[in-house]
């Protein structure tokens, strides 16, 4: 499979009161054409900052310090605004967190879709847009009459389907979805997960799924990246990562998820993520790591390296 999106050495900083914190710290990853790629990690680990830098949505006090984002052979960060506008939504669609609550309450759904299409494509006639909207609605499981409704007439799950339909209207190659199931009930959540998988199969859309919920990743993604304190600490096929997590943080994270019907004692991870204004030297995880090697982990920063077929980890316990 060919690489659709390549992130190289991406470093994003937020600055306040003269202090700089690295929200994304030298991130490297490759997303393959046609896969569902998961990005996991706990609050404030940099998942959303990473996604919004791909779409060039970082605003001051945030700043991309260095790195490249190559999409389909094009370096996105070097494009001018007009060139980039053609890629956003047409090639890369983005579903930000809680966007189902951001639909315009006083506009019918169809008019909001019309707005999106007209902003990007002047060459579509109204008939074409309507036909396309009805087709997309059918494939996300919504009846055509929903187009005439207002957002408040829809349940949360339906609004999320509307947002997904809107993101697909211009047939993008990559769909970035940030916590698309987080505020939904489990039964509705299952429907949305199922839908993302169907879209991936039916249209061949590559999906970057961002969520803190490891169970959701386990259900749908092909490959998974784990972030901790701005760093990508592990990347691999999701099955292998759950069977044999390599990074101590991944191991502890998986051990702290409860499973329905199991009473096994949950470990949790003692301590807290570091304050990124004063990051620890060496590995970001060393203050909480049970396998910390004195003199090494607290001094030398581990780099993400290949340790087995398809598996990368940033940890001194493994040799490349």
């Amino acid at each position: 499979m060919s690489v659709l999106l390549k992130v190289e050495g991406l470093t994003v900083a937020y600055e306040s009161n003269g202090k700089r914190l690295l929200a994304v710290n030298d991130a490297n990853l490759e997303i393959l054409q046609g896969e569902i790629f998961g990005l996991a990690g706990e609050s404030a680990c940099g998942k959303t900052t990473l996604a919004s830098s791909i779409l060039r949505l970082i605003k001051p006090p945030g700043r991309i310090l260095k790195g490249r984002v190559v999409f389909d052979g094009v370096d996105l960060l070097s494009l001018d605004e007009e060139e980039f506008r053609k890629i956003r939504w047409e090639k890369i669609a983005y579903i930000p967190q809680a966007s189902m609550n951001a639909l315009n309450p006083v506009m019918r759904i169809y008019d909001q879709i019309l707005d999106v299409v007209e902003a990007h494509r002047k060459d579509f006639s109204e008939d074409e847009i309507r036909k396309r909207a009805e087709e997309i609605f059918a494939s996300v499981g919504l009846a055509p009459y929903v187009l005439k409704m207002y957002p408040h007439e829809l349940s949360g799950g339906m609004r999320q389907r509307v947002i997904i339909a809107m993101s697909l209207i211009l047939n993008p190659k990559l769909l970035i979805a940030d916590e698309p199931t987080t505020a939904l009930d489990v039964v509705v959540q299952r429907g949305i997960i199922q839908l993302l998988k169907e879209i991936n199969m039916k249209f061949g859309t590559t999906v970057l799924l961002i969520t803190h919920d490891m169970a959701v990743h386990a259900q749908i993604v092909d490959r998974l990246a784990i972030m901790y304190a701005g760093k990508i600490v592990e990347i691999g096929p999701v099955k292998e990562m759950f069977e044999k997590p390599l990074h101590p943080y991944t191991q502890l994270l998986i051990a702290s998820i409860p499973r329905a019907g199991e009473k096994r004692k949950l470990a949790g991870i003692p301590g807290l993520p570091p304050d990124l204004r004063n990051p620890p030297p060496g590995c970001m995880f060393h203050p909480r790591c049970p396998f910390m090697i004195q003199g090494k982990c607290d001094r030398v920063e581990p780099v993400l390296q290949q340790v087995a077929v398809n598996r990368k980890v940033a940890c001194h316990l493994y040799k490349g």
């Binding site: 499981g141 349940s155 386990a218 259900q219 749908i220 702290s256 019907g261």
Partner: protein, 323 residues
């Protein structure tokens, strides 16, 4: 009169309807519909009240905490109706039944150090005989796994979400409660911190003898800490019983749907079959018969006529005509 062990908490047939809109556009929403359950008093347990958004679980919590009155039905604490007790008994109830809520970020007054919320509780509700307020505060902080010197004098913004939720649990422990109503106490916390708070709840149950009414939509954490469960659907209990039995072998079609929709954190246990998710719009009128009728794969004609009663089957209760 037969001598029976008095329940710690007994909720008997409570209902609550909210009315919204004005004059001709008035709409009634039945939030809680004849709900009954009890938490036994012999030994401390974690009783789970589970349901999706809009199932009425938080309304039940607010009734038990006396924030609102039910339209019908009663709530008994140690055999006494909490809406018909004298002020002395009411103070005792306030002491012995405490609450912890979802949002550890919004519960604090940001301009006071976190001690404030602890000392107010200690002053209002009193502490054990012979103990100073400071001593009592240090003691509860230690019992929730915090070091008093690291927490006292700190402002809320200086603590993490997990630490704040611990402080709120510590606050609830000051008057030596018998029951803590915990409404989604871990849903805003990260997985690694969540496990620690859940373990703390189990610890407090065993060491301090505190029972919990754990209100949640998350059946994975419920199954981890819970002993008993009542599953709510649109204001009614559809199934109730020992949690391990209900989760591993659910009887009610809604409980079955709910259990099969929990994503397993295991890529080798992915959902195989597709479920049809009938998308209902945000508003729907209250049906006369079973509320799950529209979504039920086994619906029959009789299900539409009257709501199914909660029947005892073995060690649990189920409201479904299939049984």
């Amino acid at each position: 009169m037969a001598v029976s062990v008095v329940n710690l908490l007994e909720v008997r047939n409570i209902s609550k309807t909210f009315v919204s809109g004005f004059l001709f556009s008035k709409r009634k929403v039945v939030a809680v519909d004849k709900v009954s359950f009890s938490i036994p008093g012999e030994k401390p347990i974690v009783f789970v009240l589970a349901g999706e958004s809009g199932s009425g679980k938080s309304t039940i919590a607010r009734i038990i905490l006396k924030f609102i009155k039910p339209d019908e039905g009663e709530v008994f604490y140690k055999g006494k109706n909490i809406f018909a007790i004298n002020s002395k008994e009411a103070l005792l109830y306030r002491r012995e039944v405490q609450a912890v809520f979802q949002d550890p970020y919004g519960a604090f007054n940001p301009v006071y150090p976190v001690d404030h919320i602890l000392s107010i509780t200690a002053r209002r509700l009193g502490v054990d005989q012979g103990k100073g307020i400071d001593e009592a505060i240090d003691e509860v902080l230690v019992s929730v796994g915090l070091r008093p010197e690291e927490v006292r004098g700190k402002y809320p913004y200086q603590l993490s979400g997990g630490q704040r939720q611990r402080v709120l649990l510590a606050r609830a422990l000051i008057p030596r409660p018998k029951l803590i109503v915990a409404d989604e106490p871990v849903s805003m916390l990260d997985a690694s911190l969540r496990a620690e708070i859940l373990n703390l709840m189990l610890d407090l149950k065993v060491k301090n003898g505190v029972s919990f009414l754990y209100i949640t939509h998350d059946l994975s954490t419920a199954s981890y800490v819970g002993d008993h469960i009542a599953v709510l659907y649109r204001g009614s209990v559809v199934e109730m019983g020992p949690i391990d039995d209900v989760i591993t072998n659910p009887y009610h079609p809604y409980t079955q749907l709910l259990m099969s929709s929990i994503p397993q954190p295991d890529p080798s246990k992915r959902w195989q079959e597709k479920i049809a998710t009938p998308e209902v719009s945000a508003y729907k009128e209250q049906p006369i018969g079973c509320k799950f009728y529209d979504r039920c794969p086994w619906k029959k004609e009789e299900c539409r006529k009257a709501p199914p009663p909660l029947k005892k089957i073995g060690n649990r209760y189920v409201a479904c005509y299939l049984y």
